[in-house]
């Protein structure tokens, strides 16, 4: 099993009124050192990568499977088709192995786009 974590944020050039409102409250509480706040969302997907591999019939390289590298293009596709709106949002994703596959907890590629 793999866990995909997708962090979605408004692009830097897009105004984030929620972040601004949060910043104001933090300043009101005396946290003057905070320079900016950006609000975003975290989506966590649990993916049966073994079922995916057997379905696509690819006897994938176990090392690649461990790192989640073979899952990444598909995860990015999901993000770009639905989970994030590229017009206004950027994202990064992280794939890691979770209990159930017995391969430990290798941390996947942690790449970002902007």
């Amino acid at each position: 099993m793999k866990k995909i974590e997708v962090r979605v944020q408004l692009r830097r050039e897009v105004l984030d009124p929620q972040g601004k409102a949060i910043l104001k409250v933090l300043h009101g509480l005396g946290y003057d050192e905070v320079r900016s706040v950006r609000a975003g969302k975290l989506l966590t997907l649990l993916v049966d990568d073994e079922a995916l591999a057997s379905r696509s019939g690819s006897a994938s390289d176990p090392a690649a499977s461990d790192s989640g590298a073979d899952l990444e293009p598909r995860a990015r596709e999901m993000v770009e088709r639905v989970l994030a709106n590229p017009v206004i949002e950027s994202y990064d994703l992280r794939i890691e192995t979770v209990a159930g596959s017995g391969t430990g907890s290798g941390t996947g590629d942690h790449a970002g786009t902007d």
Binding site: V82, L83, V87
Partner: protein
């Protein structure tokens, strides 16, 4: 008689108003449940306001990926009228049928109020019966209506005359305070190049008879029936 479909998603709540407005304008109004996917015999499509799929993820995002939208996309590609009002506009941008996106209002509040709109373009399926520059009074009711497009895209939209409606003062002049949500260039509604796909945040279907406080939305639906 022309047949105009109103697509009903779980969470749509302006579908009845749109059906009524279409009937009043002289066409047959056909509610189409989002799962049916069938637009056979339909002459125009309206995507109504509301909160399709509870606005989960992003307003309009999940409805935009439902199978009926594939039919709507094909329908639009044939040059036939597709109109999105409020949540319907969000759906059109999320589907890529219109450019840009609708962000949370810059003041973060849901706002119901009357606004003034200037008709910027009459060569669309919903504005042919208006005069260019005419100022309409119609309500808005939304929290995610702040129109955004990247600077280059925005420039292209203005240069090509894609803007159909803009928030203005009663005298037709644009002003900061007339813009109820922070939309860039005070854009309230847009059309594609051919003018057959139109989206807007305000609700013309709530302004089609005097008992509702005004009838500035009537030509909107008359135009649509004519174009269908």
């Amino acid at each position: 008689m022309k047949r105009i479909a109103v697509i009903v998603f779980p969470g749509s709540n302006c579908d009845r108003d749109c059906l009524w407005a279409i009937e009043q304008a002289g066409a047959e109004a056909v509610p189409v449940w989002y799962r049916s996917g069938d637009l056979a015999g339909i002459d125009a499509v309206v995507l109504p306001g509301g909160f399709s799929y509870g606005d989960y993820l992003r307003a309009g995002a999940l409805a935009a990926r439902s199978p009926i939208m594939a039919s709507v996309r094909r329908f639009a590609a044939q040059g036939r009228p597709v109109v999105g009002i409020c949540n319907g506009f969000q759906l059109l941008t999320e589907s890529g049928l219109l450019p840009g996106a609708l962000l949370m209002n810059d003041h973060l509040r849901f706002r119901w109020q009357l606004v003034r709109l200037r008709v910027e373009r009459t060569s669309t399926v919903v504005t042919a019966a208006y005069r260019e520059g005419e100022v309409l009074e119609v309500p808005i009711a939304h929290k995610e209506g702040c129109y955004y497009a990247p600077p280059a895209e925005l420039k292209r939209l203005e240069a090509s005359g894609a803007v159909a409606f803009r928030y203005v003062e009663a005298d037709g002049r644009p002003a900061e305070r007339a813009n109820p949500n922070g939309s860039l260039q005070a854009i309230a509604g847009l059309a594609n190049e051919a003018g057959n796909v139109v989206g807007l945040m305000p609700h013309p279907e709530r302004r089609i008879e005097l008992v509702l406080g005004g009838s500035d939305g009537t030509p909107f639906f008359r135009s649509l029936v004519e174009a269908a």
